[in-house]
């Protein structure tokens, strides 16, 4: 947080005073502060996910949920609250069309991959996240996502800290801490 508090605070103070109609490209500029100029997210805590190339319906649902409070996040909540409802789909479309960046995250060792695959066989993640974990529509792509973000997300679903998908909470409670770590490594390496 310390690294970005100044530019972010600046952006937040600038936004309400913008009197002219902004294009979507202009509105999207605020996102680059964390999600990256070229789609590669900055490394910080809590972790920031890739949004470039993410599935359209999923991006829309998350912006909607941040705005409504169904999903809470210290950075995203004020940003989403500052957006018009009509911006949400437009921003989702903007970012879904970008190419997913290759973060070059390492493949995990074979035993870790095996544990991840075993967890998938149990919960059948691919029944929503599709083969290759590329997702579709409102189901997010997980393949190649930031490893620490994946791990935190699964853990937050488990605990209920992320509250905008009770079905995911139920499913994450069905896997162990080791399986969460294995899945995060496996998916990040895809």
């Amino acid at each position: 947080m310390r690294r970005l508090s100044i530019p972010l605070a600046f952006a937040l103070t600038v936004l309400p005073f913008a009197a002219h109609a902004q294009s979507i490209e202009e509105k999207a500029q605020i996102c680059t502060a964390c999600h990256g100029e070229n789609g590669v997210p900055l490394e910080q805590s809590p972790p920031v996910p890739v949004i470039w190339g993410q599935n359209l319906g999923y991006l829309f649902f998350q912006l909607r949920d941040f705005k409504s409070g169904a999903r809470k996040n210290d950075q995203m909540t004020p940003i989403a609250e500052g957006l018009e409802h009509s911006d949400l789909m437009a921003l989702a479309q903007y970012f879904s069309k970008k190419p997913w960046p290759n973060l070059r995250q390492a493949n995990p060792p074979a035993n870790v991959a095996a544990l991840a695959q075993r967890a998938n066989k149990s919960v059948v993640c691919t029944s929503c996240h599709q083969e290759g974990f590329v997702g579709e529509g409102t189901q997010p792509r997980l393949a190649g996502q930031v490893r620490s973000y994946l791990e935190k997300t699964m853990t937050d679903f488990q605990s209920g800290a992320r509250g905008n998908n009770p079905g995911m909470t139920d499913l994450m409670k069905s896997i162990t801490e080791q399986e969460v770590a294995a899945l995060a490594a496996y998916l990040a390496g895809m």
Partner: protein, 578 residues
Amino acid sequence: MMRCGKTMLLAGAMAMSLPLACVAAGQETGGAGGGGGAANVQIPTVSQSMLNSAAKDSKNFLATNGNYDQTRFHPADEITTKNVKGLHVAWIFQTDVRESMETSPIVVNGVMYITTSFDHLYALNAQTGEQLWHYKHDMGPITVYCCGPNNRGAAVLGDKVYLATLDSKLDAIDTKTGKLVWSSQIADPSLGYSETMAPTAVDGKILVGTNGGEYGIRGFVKAFDANDGKLLWTFDTIPENSVGVWATKDATGRDMHRDIAAEKEALAKNGDPYKTLGGGVWQNPSVDLATKRIYFVVGNPSPDLDGSLRPGDNLYTDSLVSVDLDTGKLACYFQYIAHDLWDLDATSPTVLVNVKDKDGKTVPGVMHAGKTGYIYVHDRKDCKLIRFSEPMVSQKDRWVLPTPTQALDPKAARMFPGANGGVEWSPMATNPGLSLAYAINLEQEMTYTVASAPYPEGKLWLGGAFTNVPGGVQAGNVTAVDYDTGKIKWQVKTPQPMIGGILATGGGLVFAGESNGWFKAYDAKSGSILWKFQAGAGVNAPPSSYMAGGKQYIAVAAGGNVQVDSRRGNSIIAFTND
């Protein structure tokens, strides 16, 4: 360039008597380019009288489940128990989509219609496998579905072919050009409504159910005008008074361990849960043309595992329902499981066939194969249950209540069958001459846990989780049941859970594919395996049969399946004899 002429590739007098129109060879429409090439194939108009006599039509395969009775029995008998060992590949068509294939090929006078995951529709020359045209649905941004991006097939009527889509739309496509004629929104996808079923075309109407029992929808069957897509009627599968009679036993007479007092308390406090109670209708209804009634089965209540939020019997979830074809008004119903806590929804499509009642008298009957692992036989008049079969799968620990704990807890409930069945969406096949119904089953050891959460608007709402026990039993079977006695005639166990479908033919055969890629022919009377073929991807779709060029073909999709995570593929394979 349109190519038409007096020469016709299609054999038979039937082709002559229909109004015909020509298609530009190899046309791509609504999507990616790349032609096929098929000379001089005329695409016929499909009349209602053709559809009415589909059960006797040994040439075509006119509906997802063969005919309005949904017997999946094809009368052609050129391929027999004696010569099936010579069955070989005639052609392979490789679609553009390598993902679950659940489509039943529809064949009309030598033209085959198939669908893929993500809602592509192809018209093929059924004799050569060459593409005539390719339509790709223009998918909206919001799609919400639980169990794979699959599609179970198209419906044909007149000069249009109909496709229901993941973003809850109904598309009508011109059969000659492959171009969209109209598209109707069925329901709001952001609330969890989507379509994976094939529509049913009858009497100028297109009938569709809906997915969404995992998302707190209020389910329905809708009828749209086949010409212009206007909504004609809606039957809500969840009535405003969903409470019912507080049944404590299921259709087979087993106690479901309900806490009626607690439920009545919840009802008094929170009211009737009908608005988000679920009750999707996963597949085609059967149609009784004589009485103008349709018969379908209704899926699970929402949330699947947490009954605390939905007191009462949760009508008409997990039920057989019959409504009037013209008005959509309720005619009769029978609930298999009241207040379901095990995701044992009724999904395999109904079959209309004459059956023996309890006194041995022959009556019009309607059958359904359940996730519970039983085949239920009803009187079509009033939906009353005549009999249920011997169980086709293990019933170990049936009705163990889901535990309010994590799946990882060694005390977490385990039971058979798992949440997929029994019989999942897989349609049965019926050989009325033998009084046999054929069903394919899964046996998957699962743990069930329950956790309460309020309605999450368009998000997955299971009220718990069911997970495959790592290293637990994962198996399947093909079972033949005598529906006049309920006894199992034969059963062949398979190494993997079965999901897809089965076809019975006039040559005394039954065809079914497996997740490991094997596609097999069984003797309809004995279950002996008479032929098999390795397709290279999960054969998890119902097969079809048809005649073209004077020969009988068997066609099936080999594309794998998301629910059992079998090897994915992209192909339709057609087989024939020399």
